[in-house]
Symmetry: C3
Subunit: 302 residues, 3 copies
C-alpha cells in the first residue's frame, strides 16, 4: 500500500482492507504512537466537513504529525483563480501526504495524478468517501467479530448516498446478503444492482420500513441529504419517510448494531440513543483509529 493514493474504496483489495481493519484495532489498543513525528500532512477541505476533518486531524495529531491546511475554500487561493493542478503540486511540495475534500466528483483522482505525495480522498462530491467505508468496515468487524456472511440492511437515501454505494462495493468481497429499504424516488441505482448480480451476491429490495429488519446483523441508516436536492419540495416530501424509533427494535437480533455515517437529522429518533444496539457514536470514534491505520499504511510506517 505504501505511497499509493486512496481515492476509491476499489483501490484496495480484500487483503488490503483486512490489513486496515486489523491495524485500526492495533491503534485503538495503543493510540499514542508517534509514527508521524517530523512529518507534515496537508488537510485541504475545499468544502466544510467538520466531522471528517476533525477525525482526520485527531488521527494525525495522535500519530504525532503536524497539520497545515484550510477548512473551506474561501481561505484558499482558488479564489485567486488558481487551478486544482497548481494547488496540488504546490502543496505536495510542502507536505508528506495530502488529505483532500472537494465538492467536485473526480477531484481526488485528478489531484492524485498531479501530486508527488499520496492523496487520501476525504470525499469528492457524490462520488467516493473511502475512509468512511473503511471505518464502517472496522465498526462491522468489531461488533460482529467477522466481515463474512452478514445480513446488512441499508436504509434511507440509497440513490444519492455515496456512503452506501462504497460500503456495498467493499462488502462485496465478503459474501454479504443485502436488503435495501428506500422510497421509490431514492432506490439503489441499477448500476450497483448489476454489480451485485455479476458477483452472484443476493439482495432484496423493500419500500416499507417494517419488521423485516428482524433478520439484520447491521442496520445502516442514512441521512436524506438536503444539499443533494435541487428542489426543496422534493426534499420535504421524503425526509421524514424512514425514521427509526426504539420501539421498532424489539424483535431484532441481539447482535444487531445500528450504524449511521452522521450527522443525522431526524432519521434516527433520539430515543434509540440509549439502546445498546445503537452504535453510531462509537462508529464515529472508530473513524479516528481507521484513519490512523490508513495514514500509517500509505506512508509505509506500519
Amino acid at each position: 500500500m505504501k505511497n499509493k493514493s486512496l481515492v476509491s474504496i476499489t483501490d484496495f483489495s480484500k487483503d488490503e482492507i483486512m490489513r486496515i481493519v486489523e491495524l485500526a484495532a492495533e491503534f485503538e489498543a495503543n493510540p499514542n504512537q508517534k509514527l508521524l513525528d517530523g512529518k507534515v500532512v496537508a488537510s485541504l477541505f475545499f468544502e466544510p466537513s467538520t466531522r471528517t476533518r476533525l477525525s482526520f486531524e485527531t488521527a494525525i495529531t495522535r500519530l504525532g504529525g503536524g497539520i497545515v491546511g484550510f477548512s473551506d475554500s474561501s481561505s484558499s487561493s482558488t479564489t485567486k483563480g488558481e487551478t486544482l493542478k497548481d494547488t496540488t503540486i504546490m502543496v505536495s511540495n510542502y507536505s508528506d501526504l495530502i488529505v483532500m475534500r472537494h465538492p467536485l466528483e473526480g477531484a481526488a483522482r485528478y489531484a492524485s495524478e498531479q501530486a508527488s505525495v499520496p492523496i487520501i480522498n476525504a470525499g469528492d462530491g457524490a462520488n467516493q468517501h473511502p475512509t468512511q467505508t473503511l471505518l464502517d468496515l472496522y465498526s462491522i468487524y468489531k461488533t460482529q467479530g467477522t466481515l463474512d456472511n452478514l445480513n446488512i440492511f441499508l436504509v434511507g437515501d440509497l440513490k444519492y448516498g455515496r456512503t452506501v454505494h462504497s460500503l456495498l462495493m467493499a462488502m462485496s468481497h465478503f459474501n454479504t446478503t443485502f436488503n435495501f429499504i428506500a422510497p421509490d424516488s431514492l432506490k439503489m441505482p441499477d448500476e450497483y444492482k448489476l454489480f451485485l448480480d455479476s458477483k452472484g451476491i443476493k439482495y432484496y429490495e423493500h419500500s416499507e420500513f417494517t419488521d423485516i429488519i428482524s433478520a439484520a446483523d447491521i442496520l445502516y441508516m442514512t441521512r436524506v441529504q438536503r444539499e443533494r436536492f435541487s428542489d426543496p419540495i422534493e426534499y420535504e416530501k421524503v425526509k421524514n419517510v424512514y425514521v427509526l424509533r426504539n420501539s421498532m427494535l424489539n424483535n431484532t437480533k441481539d447482535n444487531l448494531r445500528i450504524l449511521h455515517p452522521l450527522p443525522r437529522v431526524n432519521e434516527i429518533h433520539t430515543d434509540v440513543d440509549d439502546n445498546p444496539k445503537a452504535y453510531y457514536f462509537q462508529q464515529a470514534e472508530n473513524g479516528v483509529y481507521a484513519r490512523m491505520a490508513i495514514i500509517a499504511s500509505i506512508l509505509g510506517l506500519k
Copy 2:
C-alpha cells in the same frame, strides 16, 4: 477538580479558585511543561472570539497538547442540521477535553451533560465566561498580593456584561467592597445586588465617573458591547459616557491597577496605556497561565 467540567465560576469553591490561582503562578514561572503530550483538546468556537481562542490554544500548545476544532460555526456540521448533543458526543469520542464557545446561554451546561470528557465553557452568550473570571482573579492576586479585603470598582456596562457578573460572584468569597459606576440604563441588575446583600457584602452605586476612584485597588473597566444592543441609537447614546483618561488617575492609590477584559473600543483612552497602573495587556497574558492551570487541574495532571 479532576474530570469536572467548568461551566460557571460557581462550579468552583473558594479553595478550588485559590488552587487555580496558585497553579497559574507555577505555570508562569515555568511555562513549558509537556503535561498534555499525546492528548488532544477540541477547541469548538461556534462564534468567533480571537482573544479567547488564541489564549486557550496557546495554553494547550505550551502544555504540549494537540488541537482540533473550528473557529466559527460556518465550518461546523451544525450547518447540516446537526444538534449540539450529537456534535458534543461525537467530539467527546475524539478528544480528551472540549473547550466550547457558543452564542446561546446554557449551551455549555447542556453539552457538559452529554459529553464523556470534561467541558470548559469559553463563553456561552451573555451567561458565563468562567475562565475570564479566573484570569481576572489571578491578575488581581498578582498585583495586590492577595484577594482579600480589596476595594473593587466596576465601570461601564454592568447590566449586560457577563464578565463583571462572574467576577462579582467569585470575589464574594473574599470580603470585597464593591463600587459600581454605570449610567442608569446599564446598572448592575437587582439579582446581583440581592446576592451581595445575602452574603453581607458592601457595595455602593454611582452614576458619575469622578474622583471617587481614588479609593480603588482595582478599577475594572468594561466595554459597552455593540452586539448586545438591539437598538443602535441606544448604543450611540451610552458608548462614550464612561471613558477613562490618564488625567483621571492622578489622585489614585499606588497599588491601583486597571483591568479590562479586552477588546476595548474607546472606553480606555490610549493615553492611559503607558501609565504603570494600566494592566490590561498583562492581564491578557495572564490568561494563558490561568488556562494552563485550569486545563491541568481538570485533566488531573497537577
Copy 3:
C-alpha cells in the same frame, strides 16, 4: 539579526541576505530540526493567502513549533472594533514571534513598533513581501550557483507587483542587469528606475515579449492581479498580453530558469510545466526552507 523584525527586504543587509540563503540550504539538507520546540508562533492573516500561510506554517511545524492564529479577518476581534495596536500587543504577550499578513500598506511596520516580539511581514497590501523575495533569492542562488552578475528579466505587471519591486531592491546588491518587459500601462515605476540609476545598475525596458529573452538567466513572470484593478475593463485589456508558451523557450540559455511567485492564472501556459527550465513549483517548495531560515535567524536559534 536576532530579535529584529523583518518588515521590508531593505531591513536586511547584503550579508544578512547571504546568511539567510546559506541557512535555507542547510535546512533543505536537514529539514527536521526541532529548534522551535516549546515555542509558539502567532500566524495572523488579516486577509487570506493560502500559499504564504501554508508555507510559513509548514516551516514552523517542521521546526517543531506550535502555531496559533487565524486565516482571515472575519474570525479576528477586529470585527469587534479592536485596533491593530491592541491586537498586536495582546498577541505578542502570548507568542514568541508574529507572522502577519495585512491588506493595508504599512501595517507590518506599525505592528513591529508595538510588539514585544519580532514581526515577520507576510505581505502588507501592495507594499512589501520580504519573505517572498528571500525565497526568490534562494531559488536564484540554487539554480545559478551565485547571485552575482546575472541577467534578470521581469515580465508582466511591473507597476503594481510588490514582488518584482522587492526583488529589484534585493538584487541591487549583486550587480544584476535588469530587463523589464511590460505593457505601457504596467511599466516599472520611475522611483525604481531612479533607484537603479543611483546605484549605477543597468536596466532595459521593452514593451514586446519576444526572443530578447534569449539573454536571460532568470525569467521572472508575474501575474496581472485582478484585485489590484479598480476597473475590470482595464484588467481584461491587459491580462492576456504577456503569456509565456513553451515554443518561446527554444533559443534560451541552458541555465535559464523560469520563476513565478504563484498563483499563476494564465500568464504561463501549462505546456511550459514539463520543460526543465520551469522552476516555479520548486521555487514554492524553496519557500519553506527560506522561511525556516528566516525564523531561526530572527529567533537567534542558528
